[in-house]
Amino acid sequence: MHSVTEEYKTLVSIAERTGGQPGSFGAEDAIYVVVHANRILASHALPGVRIEAAETADGIDARITVQAGTEVSRPVHLCFGHLAASGRQVIRSRIFLEERAKAVFQAHCIFPNAIEFLHAMEGEIHLAPQSAFSYREVHVHGPEGRIEVRPVSRVRIDENAVYRGDFTLVEGRVGNLAIDIDVEAHGRRSRVEVTSKVYGKYDDFCQVRDIVRLTGAESSALIKARVVLKDRSEGKFLGLVDGAAPGARGHVDCTEVVQGEARAVASPVVQASHPEAEVTHEAAIGRIADDKIQGLMAKGLSADDAIDFVVSGLLR
């Protein structure tokens, strides 16, 4: 059993080490929320940003609004975690950027000891006209175990608004991961970029489902996935862009790298529901070339360390 202070310190130190900056939490000029299990340990907002959060039986419900015209200068840090080996945490969030608001959110999902655990992120994001929102979700899992991770996002983007979403696992095992992102670029000239980077090992299972519907005229989208699988891990990628409006442009780019007995399936789907839309794709499944690995081994790295080094670049 950890004390509240211990929980806060542990989660924040891991968050700052794996993508946050020192001072991301606790500073007067920072915006942040720290949640352990279903308890809100800390929450701080600044003028122009409203955070309403309530504890539920297995997590929290949060509504975050960035008010019209507000440009948040520093990233907003959301730290969700649990230090126990088993349990569940469900984070339901609704994020609304009003007109011309701009913000960068970084979510840190931290489960360093998880063995049997369910972590679900159910997010609804609405971007009003001319707003811009970057959302980066970084996961830190333990070195073993069967954590189940379910990041689900439903995003709606109005005229001239920009959405960038980035999911990255930076440490530990994937476990059983199913990313499910569905974006509707509804507004004219709205823009979307969705990136997923995952490194599966042992018997991890990773499923990435990124869907973007370009229903706004001249809207555009890029879906990018980098999935690396080794040992006996399995991965499935579905990236779909539907060009459903005049002048809509989209591209799906998926690279899966497999080593050992790993198995991968990549399905880039491009659909032009409107005759004036243009959508393209590229997908590749391959191994890390021997010369890359041997080149690093000739510098003294073991074969495993050489693969990890190559992967660190692919996922950067």
Binding site: A289, D290, D291, K292, Q294, G295, L296, M297, A298, K299, G300, L301, S302, A303, F309, V310, S312, G313, L314, L315, R316
Partner: protein, 250 residues
């Protein structure tokens, strides 16, 4: 009195896809020496480099390799590298998303920023390259020079440089050739694999390879002279000495 041998290759045979690509190769490299292996394209020079480095595809079917008196024939690439052997590849691999700084630090994790800049400077590269990626954005020559910088930082006991001049422009060629001496003066032995007689001429001693065999050994000048004579008379037919060079062909 026999000179001490750092690397000793004895009667090595390598087969690939049913072809004998190294046929009874014997050679040696002494401590602190710059030694060349000269030969035309397809002679088997790179295969020899890979066999010395321990690439499993080039494992000797016959013969042995010793390094510092230890039989390393069964050792893997990592073990050989940790013993002090390294290889600068003719076409070094590219690494998406890896900055030059991180790549160079693999060779020497304790290298400071100024050490990295010095290593680049030795091959006529500016420090801003440290922030570039070791990927397709670099030209072949740039990538090659970064590889040579990484060898310098590693300070290996034996550096095998496979066609070190390939892709390098004429202006930087002098620096690249100067690097051989810098490495040797720092205590490394250098084994240069090349098809260019002017590069081989920068060596203390050379071998000449032809069709998977080591056909001549001698001073760099003598081996160069023989190579430039279109290898006439052919030592395959007349295996006697050529000047101060000695036939190594059995």
């Amino acid at each position: 009195m026999l000179e001490p041998r750092m690397l000793f290759v004895k009667d090595v045979e390598v087969e690939r896809e049913g072809n004998r690509i190294l046929r009874g190769i014997s050679m040696q490299v002494h401590p602190g020496e710059i030694c060349g292996v000269l030969g035309r394209n397809g002679a088997g020079k790179s295969s020899l480099a890979y066999a010395i480095m321990g690439l499993p595809q080039y494992a000797p079917k016959k013969g042995r390799i010793w390094f510092d008196g230890e039989d390393i024939t069964e050792w893997g690439v990592t073990q050989r590298a940790r013993a002090g052997i390294t290889l600068a590849w003719q076409h070094p691999a590219r690494y998406e998303g890896i900055p030059v700084r991180d790549y160079l630090k693999l060779s020497n994790p304790s290298a400071r920023e100024e050490d990295l800049a010095e290593a680049l400077n030795l091959v006529q590269m500016e420090p801003f390259y440290l922030d570039r990626m070791v990927d397709k954005g670099l030209s072949g020559g740039e990538r090659k020079r970064i590889e040579l910088s990484s060898i310098y930082l590693m300070k290996p006991r034996l550096a095998i440089l496979d066609e070190p001049d390939s892709g390098v422009d004429l202006l930087a060629l002098g620096e690249v050739m100067g690097l051989f001496k810098v490495l040797a003066s720092g205590g490394s032995s250098v084994l240069i694999i090349t098809h260019r007689e002017d590069v081989a001429a920068a060596c203390d001693r050379s071998y000449l390879m032809c069709a998977g065999k080591m056909i001549l050994e001698g001073s760099a000048e003598a081996v160069k002279r023989y190579f430039l004579s279109q290898c006439e008379p052919c030592v395959e037919q007349k295996p006697e000495n050529t000047g101060e060079a000695a036939s190594n062909h059995a």
